[in-house]
Symmetry: C2
Subunit: 185 residues, 2 copies
């Protein structure tokens, strides 16, 4: 899961990272209501006291998740848009994947979106902004870039609702890809 450091002295990765991994895991498998401190600590194989040593409060845990998300998003935008797969294909395919590092992180944060927390909304909006700016570098017409982005966001929403990837998605992606190529830089 985690890019393991030279294995300091602890179980797997640092305690902080293990807690965040566990938090993401609970959010994805059982939803936001199940993501209590006790349950997160249990899955991280740590005591509740230990968890609270790394994150001073539940709020702090959310912030930790958002920080990891924001950092990962920057890298993800860069690498995806530079991929041989093509920026648009990379972006759209990413929105339908689960089980992969970044997609899981995104979906976990998206599960928090119902909480009306401005930090969560802010982080997700910033992510969208970053993707839009990235797409604009590859697609001349900003309207097309926006449309591509919206299609991807729609797919993220479907994934949130447990929808599996279907052939319809593939044809939609192919269509978007063609659309982008006709307007690419």
């Amino acid at each position: 899961m985690e890019a393991h450091q030279p294995d300091t002295k602890h179980k797997r990765g640092s305690g902080r990272d293990r807690v965040l991994d566990a938090y993401i895991d609970v959010l994805l498998t059982d939803g936001v209501a199940a993501a209590t401190l006790d349950e997160v600590a249990r899955r991280a194989d740590i005591s509740k006291g230990g968890l609270l040593h790394h994150f001073k409060s539940k709020d702090d845990l959310v912030e930790g998740l958002l920080a990891r998300f924001t950092a990962a998003n920057i890298i993800e935008v860069e690498t995806t848009l530079a991929s041989t797969d093509g920026a648009v294909l990379g972006y759209l395919n990413g929105s339908l994947v689960s089980g992969e590092q970044f997609a899981d992180l995104y979906m976990a944060v998206l599960r928090l979106a119902g909480s009306n927390d401005p930090r969560v909304e802010g982080a997700l909006r910033a992510s969208h902004e970053a993707w839009f700016n990235g797409l604009k570098q590859h697609i001349e017409d900003p309207t097309i870039a926006r449309v591509i982005q919206l299609i991807g966001d729609g797919m993220y929403l479907h994934t949130l609702l447990g929808g599996k990837r279907t052939p319809r998605d593939d044809t939609a992606i192919a269509f978007a890809h063609r659309l982008a190529q006709e307007n690419s830089n």
Copy 2:
């Protein structure tokens, strides 16, 4: 707010409807964590006992919301797709509105989407299915219909995250409209 019946005997609409109105209100303004039975009862101007008279449990309240949503969705699909505004414009504009009957209902349900509840996910997926089928009646190419739908869903997601409608959205809608007209029945 509510299509008021000939004002039976109570304050405004039936108690059941008032409770659901209040539930939606809490979800939209303060999020899912704030939507406790006490708070919903308070906003419905009803006692907690009264609330539990109408909805036997919180789970039952959720189901009541989903039932209203599902029923409203059928009507909304019909009327929107028959609108003079044009099906596509009607659909896409609806996804960016707040303060309107159906849009609020949709956003309220969407706030529950992080809870990993199969009933919530099922209701939202059924809604998407209905919109897709409706759009297909107006757009020959099902791929285009799918793309239009995804664009709308992306806009719903943006609205969920508190994004306001921008000129970018307008141009995207205009683009989608043109796309649909070139492929309409």
